[in-house]
């Protein structure tokens, strides 16, 4: 287990309320008839994962490594189901070879990535991967959108979803660390 799966805590939004963007993203996924959601446990995605697990029409699948999710999404599409894949930026590198499946067969792929290694990062080991997510995914044939503000999250995921499933494309939405909130280490 590496550090990203260790025990983190998250700063609450400035006004102390729980942010609503994860629920808004969930509604977009729901509205787009996403049926399978592969994920690697991650604090930034915790609320969204919880919502997906609680929904009877969705199947949330805990993965042991992110690249499994690329193959899961391909299988889901072969079975006429839409899926989404949730991960942290540190898992992006694990996916690169498996993305050849996506591009060779032109499978649609919707990836939501919570970013580390940028705004207020306290762990230097997160920086190398975090800082190359965008170019690496672009090189691997994906379109990359970035969300900086909570109010942009749902509409960006919505736009990505349409591009993915109407355009048969692979799109990653990067959720910036600034928006997610600085990670607070709790021991």
């Amino acid at each position: 287990m590496n550090e990203k799966r260790a025990r983190p805590g998250r700063a609450k939004a400035a006004n102390g309320a729980r942010p609503t963007w994860p629920d808004e993203i969930f509604e977009v996924l729901k509205g787009a008839d996403i049926r399978q959601v592969g994920y690697v446990p991650d604090a930034g995605h915790a609320r969204l994962i919880e919502r997906c697990h609680a929904d009877n029409a969705m199947r949330a699948v805990a993965l042991t490594t992110e690249e499994e999710g690329i193959a899961l999404a391909a299988g889901a599409w072969l079975g006429h189901e839409r899926s989404a894949l949730l991960m942290q930026s540190s898992g992006v590198g694990n996916c690169i070879n498996m993305l050849s499946l996506t591009s060779n067969c032109r499978f649609p792929l919707l990836m939501l990535v919570t970013m580390r290694g940028e705004w207020g990062e306290f762990n230097p080991w997160q920086v190398p991967m975090g800082s190359i997510v965008e170019p690496v995914l672009t090189q691997a044939g994906m379109r990359v959108y970035r969300v900086e503000r909570p109010e942009e999250a749902a509409e960006t995921v919505q736009a990505a979803t349409e591009l993915v499933f109407n355009g048969d494309l692979a799109v990653a939405v990067l959720l910036s660390q600034r928006m997610i909130g600085r990670k607070v280490w709790t021991k």
């Binding site: 049926r35 399978q36 599409w77 072969l78 079975g79 498996m98 499946l101």
Partner: protein, 159 residues
Amino acid sequence: MTRAQKSTGGLDRRAVIKTLLADRPDDMFVVPGLGSTTYDLASLGDDDRNFYLWGAMGGAAMIGLGLALARPKLRVVVITGDGEMLMGIGSLATIGRRAAVADFGWLRLSGPVAWWLWGAVHIAFLAGMRNRIAVALDWFWAYLTFRRSTRLITGEERN
């Protein structure tokens, strides 16, 4: 002995796959792993229900899972080699969630029933009644509260 037999310790893969799929039902979809098993499958003749892989090493089992979850009524078979499987060995743990097989000879259980049974067997073999009760309660609580990844600390929000 043919070359294929030598390299697989006596099994002729082509003969094995032919036997495995001899009476292939209409609802059986097959995902082979990259390389040899893809060639083996294709050697039986092309079929729309095959999804050949020539790359994506380590992905065969997960493609099978995605398809099986999307189409539970289909029979999905993944046939792959040891190298391909090792590269995605964690996917067996992913697939194995809430699914298991318990074969007594006279009774064969599969799916969630077998999964529960194996859980019970694990608990029965723990030393001490206190441990058995503690683990059983712990698991039950984890199950009820959707903390399905109980062995992974995923970092819920803390005050």
